[in-house]
Subunit: 314 residues, 2 copies
Protein backbone atom coordinates (compact mmCIF):
# COMPACT_ATOMS: atom_id res chain seq x y z
CA UNK A 1 0.00 0.00 0.00
CA UNK A 2 1.56 3.22 -1.22
CA UNK A 3 1.06 6.27 1.06
CA UNK A 4 0.32 9.40 -0.99
CA UNK A 5 0.61 12.86 0.56
CA UNK A 6 1.23 16.54 -0.13
CA UNK A 7 3.26 19.05 1.88
CA UNK A 8 3.02 20.18 5.49
CA UNK A 9 0.58 23.07 6.08
CA UNK A 10 -1.42 21.66 3.19
CA UNK A 11 -3.21 23.83 0.66
CA UNK A 12 -5.98 22.82 -1.71
CA UNK A 13 -3.51 21.49 -4.31
CA UNK A 14 -1.67 19.35 -1.73
CA UNK A 15 -4.87 17.78 -0.37
CA UNK A 16 -6.71 17.24 -3.64
CA UNK A 17 -3.59 15.97 -5.43
CA UNK A 18 -3.18 13.27 -2.76
CA UNK A 19 -6.84 12.27 -3.11
CA UNK A 20 -6.80 12.30 -6.91
CA UNK A 21 -3.42 10.60 -7.37
CA UNK A 22 -4.39 7.83 -4.94
CA UNK A 23 -7.56 7.29 -6.99
CA UNK A 24 -5.63 7.30 -10.27
CA UNK A 25 -3.11 4.75 -8.98
CA UNK A 26 -5.87 2.56 -7.56
CA UNK A 27 -7.61 2.62 -10.94
CA UNK A 28 -4.29 1.42 -12.41
CA UNK A 29 -4.20 -1.50 -9.93
CA UNK A 30 -1.58 0.11 -7.68
CA UNK A 31 -2.85 0.07 -4.09
CA UNK A 32 -2.62 3.59 -2.71
CA UNK A 33 -4.01 5.58 0.23
CA UNK A 34 -4.16 9.39 0.43
CA UNK A 35 -3.08 11.20 3.61
CA UNK A 36 -2.64 14.79 4.78
CA UNK A 37 0.21 16.23 6.82
CA UNK A 38 -1.81 18.91 8.60
CA UNK A 39 -5.12 20.67 9.13
CA UNK A 40 -7.25 21.78 6.20
CA UNK A 41 -7.35 25.51 5.48
CA UNK A 42 -10.76 27.14 5.09
CA UNK A 43 -10.62 27.05 1.30
CA UNK A 44 -9.82 23.33 1.20
CA UNK A 45 -12.53 22.56 3.76
CA UNK A 46 -14.99 24.40 1.48
CA UNK A 47 -13.80 22.49 -1.60
CA UNK A 48 -14.12 19.08 0.07
CA UNK A 49 -17.51 19.99 1.56
CA UNK A 50 -18.84 21.08 -1.84
CA UNK A 51 -17.41 17.89 -3.39
CA UNK A 52 -18.99 15.74 -0.68
CA UNK A 53 -15.71 14.03 0.12
CA UNK A 54 -14.00 13.34 3.46
CA UNK A 55 -10.59 14.79 4.25
CA UNK A 56 -7.83 12.18 3.97
CA UNK A 57 -6.54 10.90 7.33
CA UNK A 58 -3.82 12.85 9.16
CA UNK A 59 -0.37 11.31 8.96
CA UNK A 60 2.29 12.13 11.55
CA UNK A 61 4.86 9.40 11.06
CA UNK A 62 5.64 6.31 8.97
CA UNK A 63 8.01 3.41 9.66
CA UNK A 64 11.43 3.60 8.03
CA UNK A 65 11.42 2.06 4.56
CA UNK A 66 7.72 2.64 3.83
CA UNK A 67 6.99 3.24 0.14
CA UNK A 68 5.54 6.72 -0.42
CA UNK A 69 4.36 8.93 -3.28
CA UNK A 70 4.86 12.67 -2.84
CA UNK A 71 2.56 15.15 -4.50
CA UNK A 72 2.89 18.95 -4.69
CA UNK A 73 6.28 18.94 -2.90
CA UNK A 74 9.61 17.15 -2.86
CA UNK A 75 11.79 18.86 -0.22
CA UNK A 76 12.34 17.18 3.12
CA UNK A 77 11.71 20.44 5.03
CA UNK A 78 8.12 20.37 3.71
CA UNK A 79 7.41 16.68 4.28
CA UNK A 80 7.28 14.02 6.97
CA UNK A 81 10.20 14.50 9.39
CA UNK A 82 11.81 11.14 8.51
CA UNK A 83 11.42 11.48 4.72
CA UNK A 84 15.06 10.54 4.14
CA UNK A 85 14.35 7.10 5.66
CA UNK A 86 11.27 6.47 3.52
CA UNK A 87 11.31 4.93 0.05
CA UNK A 88 10.07 7.56 -2.37
CA UNK A 89 8.87 5.67 -5.43
CA UNK A 90 6.81 8.44 -7.08
CA UNK A 91 6.66 12.23 -7.15
CA UNK A 92 4.20 14.43 -9.04
CA UNK A 93 5.12 18.07 -8.51
CA UNK A 94 5.46 21.55 -9.97
CA UNK A 95 8.09 23.03 -7.62
CA UNK A 96 11.84 23.34 -7.87
CA UNK A 97 13.75 20.15 -7.10
CA UNK A 98 15.26 20.29 -3.63
CA UNK A 99 17.14 17.71 -1.60
CA UNK A 100 15.38 14.56 -2.73
CA UNK A 101 17.39 11.51 -3.71
CA UNK A 102 16.42 7.86 -4.15
CA UNK A 103 18.12 4.46 -3.94
CA UNK A 104 16.20 3.03 -6.90
CA UNK A 105 14.97 4.57 -10.17
CA UNK A 106 11.77 6.42 -9.27
CA UNK A 107 8.76 7.58 -11.23
CA UNK A 108 9.06 11.39 -11.34
CA UNK A 109 6.74 13.75 -13.10
CA UNK A 110 7.58 17.43 -12.70
CA UNK A 111 6.26 20.14 -15.00
CA UNK A 112 6.59 23.90 -14.60
CA UNK A 113 2.82 24.46 -14.64
CA UNK A 114 0.51 26.29 -12.23
CA UNK A 115 -0.76 23.34 -10.22
CA UNK A 116 -0.22 19.65 -9.53
CA UNK A 117 -3.83 19.21 -10.67
CA UNK A 118 -2.84 20.16 -14.21
CA UNK A 119 -0.21 17.40 -14.30
CA UNK A 120 -2.64 14.86 -12.84
CA UNK A 121 -5.10 15.53 -15.65
CA UNK A 122 -2.31 14.69 -18.13
CA UNK A 123 -1.70 11.41 -16.30
CA UNK A 124 -5.38 10.47 -16.64
CA UNK A 125 -5.24 11.21 -20.35
CA UNK A 126 -2.00 9.30 -20.89
CA UNK A 127 -3.44 6.31 -19.04
CA UNK A 128 -6.55 6.48 -21.22
CA UNK A 129 -8.78 6.80 -18.15
CA UNK A 130 -11.98 8.85 -18.15
CA UNK A 131 -12.01 11.54 -15.47
CA UNK A 132 -14.91 11.09 -13.04
CA UNK A 133 -16.92 14.16 -11.92
CA UNK A 134 -15.46 14.12 -8.39
CA UNK A 135 -11.90 13.86 -9.72
CA UNK A 136 -12.59 16.69 -12.16
CA UNK A 137 -13.92 18.93 -9.39
CA UNK A 138 -10.89 18.29 -7.20
CA UNK A 139 -8.34 18.94 -9.97
CA UNK A 140 -10.20 22.06 -11.12
CA UNK A 141 -10.28 23.41 -7.54
CA UNK A 142 -6.54 22.82 -7.20
CA UNK A 143 -5.77 24.72 -10.39
CA UNK A 144 -8.02 27.66 -9.48
CA UNK A 145 -6.50 27.75 -6.00
CA UNK A 146 -2.83 27.58 -6.99
CA UNK A 147 -3.17 30.02 -9.91
CA UNK A 148 -5.61 32.34 -8.07
CA UNK A 149 -7.94 31.73 -11.02
CA UNK A 150 -5.17 32.45 -13.55
CA UNK A 151 -4.00 35.66 -11.83
CA UNK A 152 -0.67 34.20 -10.68
CA UNK A 153 2.34 34.50 -13.01
CA UNK A 154 2.77 30.74 -12.55
CA UNK A 155 -0.30 30.23 -14.76
CA UNK A 156 0.33 28.42 -18.07
CA UNK A 157 -1.79 27.64 -21.10
CA UNK A 158 -1.96 24.04 -19.86
CA UNK A 159 -3.70 25.21 -16.65
CA UNK A 160 -6.29 27.18 -18.59
CA UNK A 161 -6.90 24.34 -21.02
CA UNK A 162 -7.28 21.93 -18.10
CA UNK A 163 -9.93 24.08 -16.38
CA UNK A 164 -11.84 24.50 -19.64
CA UNK A 165 -11.86 20.69 -20.01
CA UNK A 166 -12.63 19.88 -16.37
CA UNK A 167 -15.45 22.36 -15.63
CA UNK A 168 -18.16 20.58 -17.67
CA UNK A 169 -17.02 17.15 -16.40
CA UNK A 170 -17.28 18.49 -12.82
CA UNK A 171 -20.69 20.03 -13.54
CA UNK A 172 -19.46 23.53 -12.66
CA UNK A 173 -21.17 25.96 -15.00
CA UNK A 174 -19.80 29.25 -13.67
CA UNK A 175 -16.09 28.85 -12.96
CA UNK A 176 -15.65 32.49 -11.95
CA UNK A 177 -18.42 32.26 -9.35
CA UNK A 178 -16.97 29.01 -7.99
CA UNK A 179 -13.48 30.54 -7.75
CA UNK A 180 -14.85 33.59 -5.91
CA UNK A 181 -16.69 31.31 -3.47
CA UNK A 182 -13.44 29.43 -2.85
CA UNK A 183 -11.55 32.68 -2.22
CA UNK A 184 -14.30 33.99 0.05
CA UNK A 185 -14.14 30.78 2.10
CA UNK A 186 -10.37 31.15 2.34
CA UNK A 187 -10.70 34.79 3.46
CA UNK A 188 -13.24 34.08 6.20
CA UNK A 189 -10.56 33.73 8.86
CA UNK A 190 -12.80 34.41 11.88
CA UNK A 191 -10.96 34.20 15.18
CA UNK A 192 -8.18 31.90 13.93
CA UNK A 193 -5.15 32.36 16.20
CA UNK A 194 -2.38 34.48 14.69
CA UNK A 195 0.19 31.66 14.65
CA UNK A 196 -2.29 29.42 12.85
CA UNK A 197 -2.78 32.14 10.23
CA UNK A 198 0.97 32.44 9.77
CA UNK A 199 1.43 28.67 9.47
CA UNK A 200 -1.60 28.07 7.25
CA UNK A 201 0.36 28.42 4.01
CA UNK A 202 3.91 28.40 5.30
CA UNK A 203 7.05 26.75 4.00
CA UNK A 204 10.63 26.64 5.28
CA UNK A 205 13.34 27.05 2.64
CA UNK A 206 17.07 26.43 3.01
CA UNK A 207 18.94 29.16 1.12
CA UNK A 208 22.60 29.67 0.25
CA UNK A 209 23.60 26.11 1.02
CA UNK A 210 26.96 26.43 -0.70
CA UNK A 211 28.23 29.47 1.15
CA UNK A 212 26.32 30.50 4.28
CA UNK A 213 23.33 28.23 4.94
CA UNK A 214 20.15 30.05 5.98
CA UNK A 215 16.68 28.87 6.94
CA UNK A 216 13.83 31.20 6.04
CA UNK A 217 10.16 30.72 6.83
CA UNK A 218 7.84 32.14 4.17
CA UNK A 219 4.16 32.45 5.01
CA UNK A 220 1.47 33.67 2.62
CA UNK A 221 -2.10 34.73 3.33
CA UNK A 222 -4.06 34.94 0.10
CA UNK A 223 -7.23 36.86 0.82
CA UNK A 224 -9.96 38.94 -0.71
CA UNK A 225 -10.06 40.90 2.55
CA UNK A 226 -6.55 42.22 3.35
CA UNK A 227 -8.00 44.85 5.69
CA UNK A 228 -8.94 42.08 8.12
CA UNK A 229 -5.39 40.74 8.13
CA UNK A 230 -3.73 44.13 8.64
CA UNK A 231 -6.21 44.75 11.47
CA UNK A 232 -4.34 41.93 13.28
CA UNK A 233 -0.84 43.14 12.34
CA UNK A 234 0.51 43.39 15.93
CA UNK A 235 -0.63 39.86 16.79
CA UNK A 236 0.83 38.50 13.56
CA UNK A 237 4.20 40.16 14.16
CA UNK A 238 4.29 38.61 17.62
CA UNK A 239 3.50 35.20 16.10
CA UNK A 240 6.28 35.69 13.51
CA UNK A 241 8.74 36.44 16.31
CA UNK A 242 7.72 33.24 18.15
CA UNK A 243 7.88 31.09 15.01
CA UNK A 244 11.29 32.49 14.09
CA UNK A 245 12.64 31.23 17.41
CA UNK A 246 10.71 27.92 17.37
CA UNK A 247 11.82 27.01 13.85
CA UNK A 248 15.38 28.36 14.37
CA UNK A 249 15.02 30.64 11.37
CA UNK A 250 17.33 33.32 10.06
CA UNK A 251 14.35 35.22 8.68
CA UNK A 252 10.58 35.03 8.51
CA UNK A 253 8.23 36.74 6.06
CA UNK A 254 4.44 36.89 5.95
CA UNK A 255 3.09 38.04 2.61
CA UNK A 256 -0.49 39.28 2.50
CA UNK A 257 -1.66 38.75 -1.07
CA UNK A 258 -4.74 40.65 -2.18
CA UNK A 259 -6.16 38.10 -4.62
CA UNK A 260 -8.51 40.39 -6.49
CA UNK A 261 -6.14 43.37 -6.77
CA UNK A 262 -3.06 41.18 -7.30
CA UNK A 263 -0.79 42.92 -4.81
CA UNK A 264 1.59 41.68 -2.11
CA UNK A 265 2.24 43.60 1.11
CA UNK A 266 4.61 41.73 3.38
CA UNK A 267 4.99 42.06 7.15
CA UNK A 268 8.54 42.97 8.21
CA UNK A 269 9.63 41.59 11.58
CA UNK A 270 13.12 43.00 12.11
CA UNK A 271 16.09 44.79 10.56
CA UNK A 272 17.25 41.49 8.98
CA UNK A 273 14.12 41.03 6.90
CA UNK A 274 13.95 44.78 6.21
CA UNK A 275 17.43 44.76 4.66
CA UNK A 276 16.79 41.66 2.56
CA UNK A 277 13.45 42.90 1.22
CA UNK A 278 14.95 46.27 0.26
CA UNK A 279 18.02 44.70 -1.37
CA UNK A 280 16.32 41.81 -3.15
CA UNK A 281 13.09 43.46 -4.26
CA UNK A 282 13.85 47.19 -3.92
CA UNK A 283 10.79 47.26 -1.68
CA UNK A 284 9.58 50.43 0.02
CA UNK A 285 9.02 49.65 3.71
CA UNK A 286 6.92 51.67 6.08
CA UNK A 287 5.21 50.82 9.37
CA UNK A 288 6.67 47.27 9.22
CA UNK A 289 4.95 46.63 5.88
CA UNK A 290 6.97 46.14 2.68
CA UNK A 291 5.31 46.87 -0.65
CA UNK A 292 6.23 43.99 -2.95
CA UNK A 293 4.00 45.25 -5.75
CA UNK A 294 2.54 42.55 -7.99
CA UNK A 295 4.84 39.74 -6.77
CA UNK A 296 2.02 37.44 -5.74
CA UNK A 297 3.80 34.10 -6.36
CA UNK A 298 6.08 32.84 -3.60
CA UNK A 299 7.30 30.04 -5.85
CA UNK A 300 8.04 32.07 -8.95
CA UNK A 301 8.77 35.57 -7.64
CA UNK A 302 10.00 35.31 -4.05
CA UNK A 303 11.91 32.04 -3.64
CA UNK A 304 14.14 32.21 -6.77
CA UNK A 305 15.14 35.82 -6.04
CA UNK A 306 16.00 34.96 -2.43
CA UNK A 307 17.89 31.84 -3.52
CA UNK A 308 19.98 33.92 -5.94
CA UNK A 309 20.59 36.60 -3.31
CA UNK A 310 21.87 34.10 -0.76
CA UNK A 311 23.95 32.10 -3.29
CA UNK A 312 26.57 34.46 -4.73
CA UNK A 313 27.94 33.14 -8.03
CA UNK A 314 31.68 32.74 -8.23
CA UNK B 1 19.38 27.15 -27.48
CA UNK B 2 19.07 24.26 -25.03
CA UNK B 3 22.11 21.94 -24.79
CA UNK B 4 21.02 18.28 -24.53
CA UNK B 5 23.46 15.60 -23.42
CA UNK B 6 23.80 12.18 -21.77
CA UNK B 7 26.39 10.98 -19.26
CA UNK B 8 30.18 10.83 -19.38
CA UNK B 9 31.61 7.69 -21.00
CA UNK B 10 28.47 7.65 -23.12
CA UNK B 11 26.69 4.46 -24.13
CA UNK B 12 24.20 3.99 -26.93
CA UNK B 13 21.28 5.18 -24.78
CA UNK B 14 23.12 8.35 -23.72
CA UNK B 15 24.07 9.31 -27.30
CA UNK B 16 20.82 8.40 -29.04
CA UNK B 17 18.68 9.94 -26.28
CA UNK B 18 20.48 13.26 -26.77
CA UNK B 19 19.95 13.09 -30.54
CA UNK B 20 16.30 12.03 -30.28
CA UNK B 21 15.32 14.40 -27.47
CA UNK B 22 16.90 17.36 -29.28
CA UNK B 23 14.85 16.42 -32.36
CA UNK B 24 11.67 16.05 -30.33
CA UNK B 25 12.15 19.44 -28.66
CA UNK B 26 12.97 21.09 -31.99
CA UNK B 27 9.78 19.64 -33.46
CA UNK B 28 7.96 21.23 -30.51
CA UNK B 29 9.52 24.63 -31.34
CA UNK B 30 12.06 24.49 -28.51
CA UNK B 31 15.53 25.15 -29.95
CA UNK B 32 17.82 22.35 -28.85
CA UNK B 33 21.23 20.94 -29.81
CA UNK B 34 22.50 17.45 -28.94
CA UNK B 35 26.03 16.93 -27.58
CA UNK B 36 28.11 14.05 -26.25
CA UNK B 37 30.42 14.09 -23.22
CA UNK B 38 32.94 11.56 -24.54
CA UNK B 39 34.00 9.16 -27.27
CA UNK B 40 31.55 6.75 -28.86
CA UNK B 41 31.91 3.09 -27.93
CA UNK B 42 32.05 0.56 -30.76
CA UNK B 43 28.40 -0.36 -30.43
CA UNK B 44 27.24 3.25 -30.64
CA UNK B 45 29.54 3.92 -33.60
CA UNK B 46 27.92 0.94 -35.35
CA UNK B 47 24.41 2.19 -34.53
CA UNK B 48 25.07 5.69 -35.87
CA UNK B 49 26.85 4.34 -38.98
CA UNK B 50 23.91 2.05 -39.77
CA UNK B 51 21.51 4.94 -39.16
CA UNK B 52 23.56 7.23 -41.39
CA UNK B 53 23.75 9.93 -38.75
CA UNK B 54 26.73 11.93 -37.48
CA UNK B 55 27.81 11.74 -33.85
CA UNK B 56 26.75 14.82 -31.89
CA UNK B 57 29.60 17.28 -31.17
CA UNK B 58 31.83 16.73 -28.15
CA UNK B 59 31.13 19.04 -25.22
CA UNK B 60 33.78 19.72 -22.59
CA UNK B 61 32.48 22.81 -20.84
CA UNK B 62 29.60 25.28 -20.81
CA UNK B 63 29.41 28.80 -19.36
CA UNK B 64 27.82 29.12 -15.94
CA UNK B 65 24.05 29.62 -16.16
CA UNK B 66 23.59 27.86 -19.53
CA UNK B 67 20.23 26.09 -19.87
CA UNK B 68 20.69 22.34 -20.29
CA UNK B 69 18.60 19.20 -20.66
CA UNK B 70 20.03 16.00 -19.19
CA UNK B 71 19.18 12.62 -20.64
CA UNK B 72 20.03 9.16 -19.28
CA UNK B 73 21.69 10.59 -16.14
CA UNK B 74 21.16 13.16 -13.42
CA UNK B 75 24.10 12.91 -11.00
CA UNK B 76 26.85 15.53 -11.11
CA UNK B 77 29.59 12.87 -10.95
CA UNK B 78 28.39 11.59 -14.33
CA UNK B 79 27.93 14.95 -16.04
CA UNK B 80 29.78 18.11 -17.03
CA UNK B 81 32.16 19.12 -14.23
CA UNK B 82 30.34 22.41 -13.55
CA UNK B 83 26.81 20.95 -13.62
CA UNK B 84 25.90 22.68 -10.35
CA UNK B 85 26.43 26.06 -12.04
CA UNK B 86 24.27 25.20 -15.06
CA UNK B 87 20.51 25.71 -15.25
CA UNK B 88 18.95 22.27 -15.60
CA UNK B 89 15.50 22.85 -17.10
CA UNK B 90 14.74 19.29 -18.25
CA UNK B 91 15.72 15.73 -17.35
CA UNK B 92 14.58 12.51 -19.02
CA UNK B 93 16.08 9.56 -17.18
CA UNK B 94 15.62 6.04 -15.84
CA UNK B 95 18.24 6.04 -13.04
CA UNK B 96 17.99 6.72 -9.34
CA UNK B 97 17.79 10.40 -8.41
CA UNK B 98 21.14 11.62 -7.10
CA UNK B 99 22.33 15.07 -6.11
CA UNK B 100 20.40 17.18 -8.59
CA UNK B 101 18.58 20.29 -7.43
CA UNK B 102 17.17 23.27 -9.34
CA UNK B 103 16.40 26.92 -8.65
CA UNK B 104 13.21 26.91 -10.73
CA UNK B 105 10.51 24.27 -11.31
CA UNK B 106 11.97 21.89 -13.93
CA UNK B 107 10.48 19.48 -16.38
CA UNK B 108 11.40 16.01 -15.06
CA UNK B 109 10.43 12.71 -16.54
CA UNK B 110 11.81 9.67 -14.77
CA UNK B 111 10.39 6.19 -15.17
CA UNK B 112 11.80 2.92 -13.86
CA UNK B 113 12.03 1.36 -17.33
CA UNK B 114 14.91 -0.30 -19.17
CA UNK B 115 16.04 2.61 -21.32
CA UNK B 116 15.66 6.34 -21.83
CA UNK B 117 14.55 5.46 -25.36
CA UNK B 118 11.38 3.88 -23.95
CA UNK B 119 10.47 7.12 -22.17
CA UNK B 120 11.23 9.20 -25.27
CA UNK B 121 8.77 7.14 -27.31
CA UNK B 122 6.09 7.99 -24.72
CA UNK B 123 6.92 11.69 -25.12
CA UNK B 124 6.42 11.45 -28.90
CA UNK B 125 3.07 9.78 -28.36
CA UNK B 126 1.94 12.29 -25.74
CA UNK B 127 2.91 15.16 -28.03
CA UNK B 128 0.93 13.55 -30.86
CA UNK B 129 4.04 13.49 -33.08
CA UNK B 130 4.68 10.71 -35.60
CA UNK B 131 8.01 8.96 -35.03
CA UNK B 132 10.28 9.23 -38.08
CA UNK B 133 12.26 6.15 -39.23
CA UNK B 134 15.62 7.55 -38.04
CA UNK B 135 14.16 8.41 -34.62
CA UNK B 136 12.62 4.94 -34.38
CA UNK B 137 15.95 3.28 -35.22
CA UNK B 138 17.80 5.30 -32.58
CA UNK B 139 15.24 4.65 -29.81
CA UNK B 140 15.07 0.95 -30.68
CA UNK B 141 18.88 0.67 -30.60
CA UNK B 142 18.95 2.34 -27.17
CA UNK B 143 16.39 -0.09 -25.76
CA UNK B 144 18.14 -3.17 -27.17
CA UNK B 145 21.48 -1.87 -25.88
CA UNK B 146 20.38 -0.98 -22.34
CA UNK B 147 18.28 -4.12 -21.85
CA UNK B 148 20.74 -6.42 -23.68
CA UNK B 149 17.79 -7.33 -25.90
CA UNK B 150 15.50 -7.91 -22.92
CA UNK B 151 18.02 -10.09 -21.03
CA UNK B 152 18.63 -7.51 -18.30
CA UNK B 153 16.40 -7.59 -15.19
CA UNK B 154 15.79 -3.88 -15.81
CA UNK B 155 13.59 -4.85 -18.77
CA UNK B 156 9.90 -3.92 -18.48
CA UNK B 157 6.82 -4.62 -20.55
CA UNK B 158 7.04 -1.00 -21.76
CA UNK B 159 10.46 -1.68 -23.30
CA UNK B 160 9.23 -4.75 -25.14
CA UNK B 161 6.13 -2.97 -26.37
CA UNK B 162 8.26 -0.03 -27.55
CA UNK B 163 10.57 -2.27 -29.59
CA UNK B 164 7.60 -4.07 -31.16
CA UNK B 165 6.19 -0.68 -32.18
CA UNK B 166 9.48 0.85 -33.33
CA UNK B 167 10.93 -2.02 -35.41
CA UNK B 168 8.56 -1.67 -38.38
CA UNK B 169 8.81 2.14 -38.28
CA UNK B 170 12.61 1.83 -38.36
CA UNK B 171 12.42 -0.71 -41.19
CA UNK B 172 14.20 -3.37 -39.10
CA UNK B 173 12.67 -6.73 -39.97
CA UNK B 174 14.83 -9.02 -37.83
CA UNK B 175 15.31 -7.42 -34.41
CA UNK B 176 17.29 -10.39 -33.06
CA UNK B 177 19.79 -10.23 -35.93
CA UNK B 178 20.16 -6.45 -35.50
CA UNK B 179 20.74 -6.83 -31.74
CA UNK B 180 23.39 -9.53 -32.33
CA UNK B 181 25.13 -7.27 -34.85
CA UNK B 182 25.13 -4.44 -32.26
CA UNK B 183 26.59 -6.74 -29.59
CA UNK B 184 29.20 -8.10 -32.01
CA UNK B 185 30.28 -4.54 -32.87
CA UNK B 186 30.52 -3.78 -29.15
CA UNK B 187 32.62 -6.91 -28.56
CA UNK B 188 35.11 -6.21 -31.36
CA UNK B 189 37.50 -4.41 -29.04
CA UNK B 190 40.67 -4.84 -31.17
CA UNK B 191 43.71 -3.21 -29.62
CA UNK B 192 41.82 -0.69 -27.52
CA UNK B 193 44.06 0.36 -24.60
CA UNK B 194 43.11 -1.24 -21.29
CA UNK B 195 42.25 2.05 -19.58
CA UNK B 196 39.93 2.94 -22.48
CA UNK B 197 38.20 -0.43 -22.07
CA UNK B 198 37.76 0.21 -18.36
CA UNK B 199 36.39 3.72 -18.91
CA UNK B 200 34.15 2.83 -21.85
CA UNK B 201 31.10 2.15 -19.68
CA UNK B 202 32.25 3.50 -16.35
CA UNK B 203 30.46 5.52 -13.69
CA UNK B 204 31.58 6.96 -10.37
CA UNK B 205 29.13 6.60 -7.49
CA UNK B 206 29.21 8.29 -4.08
CA UNK B 207 28.12 5.75 -1.46
CA UNK B 208 27.36 6.06 2.25
CA UNK B 209 27.07 9.83 2.21
CA UNK B 210 25.44 10.00 5.63
CA UNK B 211 28.05 8.05 7.57
CA UNK B 212 31.38 7.43 5.82
CA UNK B 213 31.43 8.88 2.28
CA UNK B 214 33.01 6.59 -0.32
CA UNK B 215 33.66 7.01 -4.03
CA UNK B 216 33.53 3.83 -6.09
CA UNK B 217 34.23 3.50 -9.81
CA UNK B 218 32.13 0.82 -11.50
CA UNK B 219 33.11 -0.24 -15.00
CA UNK B 220 31.21 -2.75 -17.12
CA UNK B 221 32.28 -4.51 -20.31
CA UNK B 222 29.29 -6.13 -21.96
CA UNK B 223 30.57 -8.58 -24.53
CA UNK B 224 29.75 -11.69 -26.52
CA UNK B 225 33.45 -12.62 -26.26
CA UNK B 226 34.50 -12.64 -22.58
CA UNK B 227 37.52 -14.83 -23.40
CA UNK B 228 39.10 -11.87 -25.19
CA UNK B 229 38.66 -9.65 -22.13
CA UNK B 230 40.05 -12.18 -19.65
CA UNK B 231 43.01 -12.65 -22.01
CA UNK B 232 43.91 -9.06 -21.09
CA UNK B 233 43.26 -9.44 -17.34
CA UNK B 234 46.75 -8.33 -16.19
CA UNK B 235 46.60 -5.13 -18.28
CA UNK B 236 43.08 -4.38 -17.06
CA UNK B 237 44.05 -4.83 -13.40
CA UNK B 238 46.95 -2.41 -13.93
CA UNK B 239 44.54 0.10 -15.51
CA UNK B 240 42.14 -0.29 -12.57
CA UNK B 241 44.98 0.45 -10.16
CA UNK B 242 45.88 3.62 -12.10
CA UNK B 243 42.25 4.79 -12.37
CA UNK B 244 41.67 4.17 -8.65
CA UNK B 245 44.48 6.63 -7.89
CA UNK B 246 43.57 9.13 -10.63
CA UNK B 247 39.90 9.30 -9.61
CA UNK B 248 40.71 9.18 -5.86
CA UNK B 249 38.46 6.16 -5.41
CA UNK B 250 37.90 3.95 -2.39
CA UNK B 251 37.19 1.01 -4.67
CA UNK B 252 37.05 0.11 -8.34
CA UNK B 253 35.23 -2.78 -10.01
CA UNK B 254 35.24 -3.99 -13.59
CA UNK B 255 32.41 -6.35 -14.40
CA UNK B 256 32.73 -8.50 -17.49
CA UNK B 257 29.18 -9.31 -18.56
CA UNK B 258 28.71 -12.21 -20.94
CA UNK B 259 25.69 -10.93 -22.86
CA UNK B 260 24.59 -14.21 -24.40
CA UNK B 261 25.10 -16.38 -21.30
CA UNK B 262 23.91 -13.65 -18.90
CA UNK B 263 26.73 -13.95 -16.38
CA UNK B 264 28.91 -11.41 -14.59
CA UNK B 265 32.53 -12.12 -13.64
CA UNK B 266 34.13 -9.10 -11.98
CA UNK B 267 37.83 -8.29 -11.75
CA UNK B 268 39.03 -7.85 -8.15
CA UNK B 269 41.85 -5.37 -7.66
CA UNK B 270 42.67 -5.57 -3.95
CA UNK B 271 41.61 -6.82 -0.54
CA UNK B 272 39.18 -3.90 -0.23
CA UNK B 273 37.12 -4.91 -3.24
CA UNK B 274 37.48 -8.59 -2.37
CA UNK B 275 35.92 -8.05 1.07
CA UNK B 276 33.05 -5.94 -0.27
CA UNK B 277 32.19 -8.39 -3.06
CA UNK B 278 32.17 -11.33 -0.67
CA UNK B 279 30.10 -9.50 1.97
CA UNK B 280 27.62 -7.79 -0.34
CA UNK B 281 27.10 -10.50 -2.95
CA UNK B 282 28.45 -13.63 -1.24
CA UNK B 283 30.69 -13.91 -4.27
CA UNK B 284 33.23 -16.70 -4.70
CA UNK B 285 36.57 -15.12 -5.64
CA UNK B 286 39.48 -16.93 -7.26
CA UNK B 287 42.41 -15.69 -9.32
CA UNK B 288 41.25 -12.06 -8.85
CA UNK B 289 37.90 -12.86 -10.48
CA UNK B 290 34.63 -12.73 -8.50
CA UNK B 291 31.70 -14.77 -9.71
CA UNK B 292 28.66 -12.49 -9.47
CA UNK B 293 26.38 -15.03 -11.10
CA UNK B 294 23.52 -13.57 -13.11
CA UNK B 295 23.87 -10.03 -11.71
CA UNK B 296 24.23 -8.39 -15.12
CA UNK B 297 22.66 -5.00 -14.26
CA UNK B 298 24.92 -2.45 -12.56
CA UNK B 299 21.93 -0.16 -12.01
CA UNK B 300 19.51 -2.70 -10.58
CA UNK B 301 21.74 -5.35 -9.01
CA UNK B 302 25.08 -3.79 -8.10
CA UNK B 303 24.51 -0.12 -7.17
CA UNK B 304 21.50 -0.52 -4.81
CA UNK B 305 23.21 -3.38 -2.90
CA UNK B 306 26.42 -1.35 -2.52
CA UNK B 307 24.45 1.75 -1.49
CA UNK B 308 22.65 -0.26 1.21
CA UNK B 309 25.93 -1.86 2.38
CA UNK B 310 27.63 1.52 2.80
CA UNK B 311 24.60 3.23 4.40
CA UNK B 312 23.82 1.40 7.65
CA UNK B 313 20.26 2.10 8.80
CA UNK B 314 19.88 3.42 12.31
MN1 LIG C 1 0.73 23.27 -5.83
MN1 LIG D 1 20.22 4.29 -20.15
Amino acid sequence: MLAVFGHLNPDTDAITAALVYARLLTRQDIEAQAYRLGDLNFETAFVLREAGVEAPPLLETLPSGTAVALVDHNESAQSLPNLSELTVTRVVDHHKLGDLSTAQPPYLRFEPVGSTGTILLKLFREAGLAVEPLEARLMLSAILSDTLHFRSPTTTADDQEAVAFLAPVAGIEDVTAYALAMFAAKSDLGDTPAETLLRMDYKVFPFGEVTAPQQWGLGVIETTNPGYVFGRQAELLAAMDAVKAEDRLNGVLLSVVDILNETNRTLVLSATEDKVLREVFGAAVSGQVADLGARISRKKQLVPALETYFTPQN
